[in-house]
């Protein structure tokens, strides 16, 4: 009965150590575990929804390592490298976190503080990298054309490598002005206009006989996108509706818009978790420094926030696999 009846008015941190606990886990730690479980189910809901849509469009889904090929300060194509770097940063910040927890068990205040600090830095590098990844994805790399029925067609040269719109299209400066709140209806605005018009792209394509068009369709034997003959390319281009550069929630130069939607939603939701994890880590870091846990004679709070941080890493492992690898 002692465990269920409140015998004292005030519950102290010392009591927390002496009490009998279910599963020998403290209340806070157990609740952190159950929160993590529910959050894991939320994330798996998103990733499985991604999987369902991918199975639905299995023949036309964008190939991820053709999309994320950029690394900072370089113009080459390096598939996977940057995401691999991000993964290592996050795993390493998990290591410093668990080292902080271990130092906490030994009641070494300075060590805990330094390891927490390293964890915060690692998290900040990760979020920064993700911001750069978003920026690159939004800006796009080659540009493409969206057809009347919404399909995306891209441009390739004779060797099958994608080429940029700029490389074969010249602008005639006939582009109308972007409609903003200042110069048009005050309650309507539109996003920035593409650099080229549809007519200019068609004209440029006709001048370059070596170019052809790549569709969204995947040849399952080679796991590459289908490349059309010159005649079929021209027929496809005649159906073109709009010039697309980059990706957003409405259109995506790499293929299915759903791919961009899931990318922004899943990595955004994960990035938000990393961000809040950094905030928690900073709070606990300052608590360590002012000696809160030294007085409490227990660094369990570091352990709890550590659980959350490892969970963020755990989710990234799955996002990495299902977004970039599979």
């Amino acid at each position: 009965m002692e465990a269920t009846v409140a015998t004292k008015e005030h519950h102290s941190w010392a009591d927390d150590k002496n009490e009998k606990k279910p599963f020998e886990a403290s209340y806070g730690k157990m609740m952190m575990w159950f929160f993590i479980m529910s959050d894991a189910l939320t994330f798996s809901g998103f990733i499985i929804a991604y999987g369902a849509m991918r199975f639905k469009f299995i023949e036309t889904w964008p190939i991820a390592d053709e999309v994320f090929t950029h690394i900072p300060f370089s113009h080459g194509t390096y598939p996977m490298i940057y995401v691999a770097f991000m993964t290592f940063v996050l795993i390493f910040s998990s290591v410093t976190m668990v080292l902080a927890v271990d130092a906490g068990h030994q009641m070494k205040k300075n060590k805990v503080a330094w390891y927490m600090f390293a964890t915060i830095i690692g998290g900040a590098i990760f979020v920064g990298s993700q911001a750069w990844e978003w920026k690159t994805f939004i800006q796009g790399s080659y540009g493409a054309v969206q057809m009347n029925d919404g399909k995306i067609i891209q441009f390739v040269d004779g060797t099958g490598h994608q080429v940029t719109l700029e490389s074969f299209t010249t602008s005639h400066e006939t582009v109308r002005e972007q409609h903003s709140r200042k110069n048009g209806l005050w309650f309507v605005k539109e996003s920035s206009l593409p650099v080229f018009t549809m007519d200019e792209v068609v004209e440029g394509f006709k001048k370059h006989p070596e170019l052809s068009i790549r569709t969204e369709k995947i040849d399952l034997a080679t796991k590459t996108k289908e490349i059309l003959s010159r005649e079929a390319s021209l027929a496809h281009l005649a159906e073109g509706k709009a010039v697309v550069k980059g990706a957003n929630l409405e259109v995506n130069e790499y293929g299915k818009t759903l791919f961009a939607d899931f990318f922004f939603f899943i990595t955004g939701f994960h990035g938000f978790h990393v961000f809040s994890g950094i905030i928690f880590n900073i709070i606990i870091f300052f608590n360590v420094i002012i000696g809160t846990y030294e007085k409490r004679k227990s660094y369990e709070m570091v352990e709890k926030v550590g659980l959350y941080w490892h969970f963020v890493d755990l989710v990234w492992v799955f996002v990495f696999t299902f977004f970039y690898l599979v």
């Binding site: 575990w33 479980m37 691999a84």
Partner: protein, 144 residues
């Protein structure tokens, strides 16, 4: 907190680190190696592990083996990725989150519940996804 004071072993006693810190670095090395393998496979994507290359090289394989491999609806390469990911998840949960130090039934209440619900949801939705593909695929126009 069972991990206080003594160091727990890794991989059911296969690895016995000196102390907690060396255990952490051991796990880090383990996770790094798996990640490097994943990235290497992701970049080079060996053709022999694609679904279609298995179907075309049917002369060396027997039917039941092919069925076993293609049963999951995806290529052997993707299954390798998924298995490696689950191993990584195990490493993070057991070593870094100290799941190995929790009471058996507390651990099971978390792990079994999560795995069961995820498998259930994945099964339902992926079947639904491929059904949608089978039904709607033929109506997508590709000739212009």
């Amino acid at each position: 907190m069972a991990e206080h004071g003594h160091t727990s072993t890794l991989l059911y006693g296969l690895v016995k680190p000196k102390n907690n810190v060396s255990k952490i670095w051991w796990v880090f090395g383990f996770l790094s190696i798996i990640t490097i393998i994943e990235v290497a496979l992701g970049i080079y994507k060996p053709k022999s592990l694609h679904l279609s290359s298995l179907e075309s090289s049917i002369h060396w394989s027997i039917d039941w083996f092919l069925n076993l491999i293609t049963f999951g609806g995806t290529s052997p390469l993707n299954w390798i990725f998924i298995v490696l990911t689950l191993i990584k998840a195990y490493g993070i949960t057991w070593a870094f989150m100290h799941m190995d130090g929790e009471k058996k039934w507390f651990r099971r209440s978390i792990v079994w519940t999560t795995i069961f619900l995820i498998c259930y949801l994945a099964l339902i939705l992926l079947i639904e996804g491929s059904y949608l593909h089978d039904v709607m695929g033929p109506y997508v126009k590709w000739d212009y």
